[in-house]
């Protein structure tokens, strides 16, 4: 029993370092870093390169990677990315760090090479020494892990409680504005926080590598487990996070004493422990009615915080349908262009285009849940995977027509999204992101990679409808399905539910006192988004003619989201473009460029999401704005006697002064950047 306990404490220590790092970074910088896993992988990979590949001694490798590289790495990331995220909405922060988590691992592999070995040595010398403690066995890795946690806690508490730097960090947590007024540079303190964050992430990564393996995936699993402790700690209570993390580790190993190690039940229970902890605390918070996302900082910070800058903060579409909008023209042209692809491409590329269009359907679920609902759901790919698996099961094993199977399977998946929504939405957007990622990973492990769905990775056969068996016909069927789903999104946007959703998304208090239920509105869109994701999964399965469970890995889901938000999370056509890009770009690289560069598209997708920090509206909206500005200028020049566009800040000040103000108003950026922001009031940007 003691052996299980000791092993559990070691695992719990790693969870505790990870959870502690996430909590401290969040409270000190206001950024919840989804890039924690990628940072852990990067530092651990550098350690591996020094220790294993370059054969440097452990101490030298550890000092260089943890005390030299990691702080510099953290500071570089702060300088390049995190400092731009200060004062940004939660959604942008999550997206940008998610982009980093997508871009960083392939970038590191590009620089240091891909490793095939799944396990890597930790900080203890090999071969591992073992010790006997009251009859129980303890290995050197476990001992180093305990020491690691003790050192981190002692240093952390010591610095935060008893030093001038710690005082500044705690002041920054309370109010960045007041801290800067007292002569302390918040930037410099944040630099230190991110340096420490990267070091802790690296330490956790190096410590987990011997048991979980050195890969971005294993680090993400570690991060997801740490999320459970972070959720339990209500995002900011460090002692609770550490205690719960230790407890999770102990429970994970101790339950193994009572379970048959060979049974599939055991294999299912072990990865479920962190999620069970998370669920327990979620239910506890739900019963107690505690809300989660607290605005960081004090009253002064809130008063001076810039508004807007949200990737989905686009003006609403006018309720009038009159007039032919430039956006409509470009939309039709784009759809026609996509429609010609199967005609001009050969069978291989037509198949890829069809896959891209099928993915676009699934991506529309992000358009709904993120673009309309303002939430970050990280398990849409799991809903898609489940939709694919169930549809394939219905079609192949029960003989249902494929299309019917796809839609029925999607309807079956909906309650899952609804329940997750009910559990998390009340707690806040950050909880939604954390819980959905953990849920996705768990569901992938427990269901999608188990039989009867897995079938050695080949999944269940999913036939295409008889009238669309070749790639070209199937591409058109998929495009039609995309347009129907796009219409569904448009309908929701224009409906009263869409108005109510915008209301709850921008001001929960305003909406509630108007009589609108926040939970109902957000759960409604989550349900619809789950349905759309599952339909997309069904079409992807039809495209591959198999449910292919590995194609719905949650890590890939992050890339899906990165591509979509890069192009625009609110535009329906951006989803179409993103789906095509996701499948065509890597194939173009593979076909025409050296294989070394195969990962470049993923890096670019991640970098695109990172760019949201400065251009939150996404590429499509950004370019359509630029186009609208250009067209407006042309019109203004062409129409003699027409008034020039009014340049005024704020925009609304102008109409009263000039009733004949043109439709195009250029306003000062609502994000407080002072950049002019184009608002074309007749041409809806959300195409």
């Amino acid at each position: 029993m003691l052996s299980y306990l000791l092993a559990g404490l070691a695992l719990g220590s790693i969870y505790a370092i990870a959870a502690g790092s996430l909590v401290v970074t969040y409270v000190a910088s206001g950024i919840f870093s989804l890039a924690f896993a990628a940072m852990a992988f990067t530092v651990a990979r550098v350690y591996y390169a020094l220790n294993t590949e370059q054969h440097l001694p452990i101490l030298v490798s550890a000092v260089v990677s943890l005390l030299v590289f990691a702080p510099l790495f953290g500071m570089t990331l702060y300088w390049m990315l995190f400092r731009h995220l200060r004062g940004r909405p939660m959604l942008v922060k999550l997206m940008a760090t998610m982009g980093l988590s997508v871009a960083l691992p392939p970038l590191v592999e590009l620089a240091l090479g891909h490793i095939t070995s799944v396990t890597a040595p930790g900080l203890a010398p090999r071969p591992l020494r073992t010790f006997h403690l009251f009859g129980a066995l303890l290995n050197a890795d476990q001992l180093v892990t305990y020491l690691g946690l003790v050192v981190v806690l002692a240093l952390g508490v010591g610095i935060l409680r008893f030093t001038d730097i710690g005082l500044k960090v705690r002041a920054l947590v309370d109010s960045e504005a007041l801290t800067s007024l007292s002569g302390t540079s918040p930037g410099r303190v944040s630099l230190g926080v991110w340096a420490a964050s990267a070091t802790l992430a690296g330490l956790a990564g190096i410590l987990i590598a011997p048991t979980a393996g050195l890969s971005a995936e294993s680090m993400t699993l570690l991060m997801a487990a740490a999320f459970a402790a972070v959720v339990a700690a209500w995002l900011r209570r460090l002692p609770v996070a550490v205690v719960v993390a230790l407890l999770m580790g102990v429970v994970t190993t101790v339950v193994q004493k009572y379970l048959d190690p060979a049974s599939s039940f055991t294999a299912a229970v072990i990865p479920s422990v962190p999620f069970a902890f998370m669920l327990l605390f979620l239910l506890y918070y739900a019963v107690r009615g505690q809300a989660g996302d607290h605005a960081a900082g004090g009253a002064l910070d809130r008063a001076i915080s810039p508004q807007g800058g949200d990737p989905t903060a686009a003006p609403a579409v006018s309720s009038s349908l009159k007039g032919f909008k430039p956006g409509t023209v470009s939309s039709v042209v784009f759809v026609l262009l996509v429609a010609t692809l199967p005609l001009v491409l050969d069978d291989y590329w037509s198949g890829l285009a069809a896959a891209g269009i099928a993915l676009s359907i699934a991506l529309l679920s992000y358009t709904l849940v993120t673009g309309e609902g303002g939430m970050v759901w990280l398990c849409q790919i799991t809903f898609a995977g489940l939709g694919a698996a169930l549809a394939a099961d219905l079609a192949t094993n029960r003989g249902w027509p494929s299309l019917v199977a796809v839609f029925v399977a999607a309807a079956i998946v909906v309650p899952l999204g609804v329940v997750l929504g009910i559990l998390t939405i009340r707690l806040g957007n950050l909880y939604v992101a954390l819980v959905t990622l953990t849920f996705g990973l768990l569901f992938q492990t427990l269901v999608l990679t188990q039989d009867p769905f897995y079938n050695f990775g080949s999944g269940i056969v999913m036939p295409r409808p008889s009238f669309a068996e070749n790639n070209r016909a199937f591409a058109y069927l998929t495009l039609a399905a995309f347009l129907v789903q796009g219409l569904l999104v448009l309908n929701l946007r224009r409906s009263t539910a869409g108005l109510a959703l915008s209301a709850v998304r921008w001001s929960e208090n305003g909406a509630r006192t108007l009589g609108i239920s926040v939970l109902q509105s957000k759960v409604l869109v989550s349900g619809v988004a789950t349905f759309v994701a599952a339909v997309g999964g069904g079409f992807l399965a039809m495209n591959f003619q198999s449910s292919l469970p590995d194609a719905f890995n949650p890590f890939l889901g992050l890339v899906w989201l990165a591509v979509l938000v890069t192009l625009g999370s609110r535009s329906i056509l951006a989803a179409l473009a993103a789906g095509l890009l996701f499948y065509l770009m890597p194939s173009l690289f593979a076909a025409y460029l050296p294989t070394d560069l195969a990962q470049v598209p993923t890096i670019l997708f991640g970098v695109g999401a990172i760019a949201l920090a400065n251009h939150p509206e996404g590429a499509v909206a950004q370019n359509s704005r630029a186009l609208s500005v250009f067209l407006a200028r042309l019109r203004a020049r062409g129409g003699a006697g027409e008034p020039e566009p009014v340049f005024a800040a704020p925009a609304a000040a102008s109409p009263a002064a000039s009733p004949a103000a043109p439709a195009v108003v250029v306003a000062r950026g609502a994000d407080g950047t002072g950049l002019p922001e184009m608002r074309d009031l007749t041409a809806g940007e959300r195409t």
């Binding site: 003006p315 309720s319 009263t496 006192t513 009589g515 609304a652 009733p659």
Partner: protein, 332 residues
Amino acid sequence: MSEKRRDGAWTEAARNDEVACGLPKEVPHPDGREVPPSVISAAPERIMGMSATVSAPPVSTARLAARGVTVRFGGLVALDSVDLDVPAQSIVGLVGPNGAGKSTLFGVLSGLLRPAAGSVLMDGEDVTGASPQLRARRGLARTFQHPELFTSLTVREHVILGYRVRHAKARIWTDLIDGRGFRRAPRAEVARVDELVDALSLGDIQHLPAAGLPLGMSRLVEVARALAVDPRVLLLDEPSSGLDVRETEELAATLRRVVSDHGVSLLLVEHDVPLVLGMCDQVHVLDFGIKIAAGTPAQIRSDPAVRAAYLGEELDLAEDPGRTDSTQGESA
């Protein structure tokens, strides 16, 4: 016609004139154009779309009442056993310096904050545990000190949403099935929304998104949105802040019509003390979470506790010489 002095006060004469004569014949628009009198003064039902005029005197059961409301934030007592009544068809003012607890009391009354002790009653029924949505359904609407607008919606959509929440709530579900969002809005909705937009002079900005509106405009949008739900009790948190003298005057006239013609009850938080004293039937004064006085504006003017604790010299500016002999107000 009412006159607002540079310090924001309405003279008593102007106020009496308003009460005696009803609405102004015409109200100039901020941009200098004249708004048709029909929009402003004629057919009040058409403007506010509410049921028949309430002419009965206020009943004893207040529409909204606080009984011994206490709120603590950690060790700070933000509100200490505060009582307050908002009778039918009346304007009740709530004044006090910064940090007095006015917005906290609004939070408790609207259901966004739970009191540590005490209760909130609507029409005599305890709603302390009821959600903001439930209170909204019972006819409570409010505006906020920092306007809580829906950034991506246009001004008009704010009013439309308010209207539909009250009159067509089922559309939240049915629109998804029948696609009514693509069709022309019903005439009744268009007419009602037009009336509210016109009444608050929002016509020129109605198709602009709420993001980036100046503070004064944002407040008017909030008021329009709140009126769109046909409230029985309307809580207004500093409605005149950010408005110029003329806009304040127009808003005050609109609000008075809402009260006199449709029997709505108003509870008004204002820093502009002269405005409150010029407009309200009853005024409550909070200081450090404690109600230090309540009474008619005249009583408040002459209350020594209020003078000492809050109003000070400013009171003299707003004081009406003809009302100095008023009786002493209730002091806490």
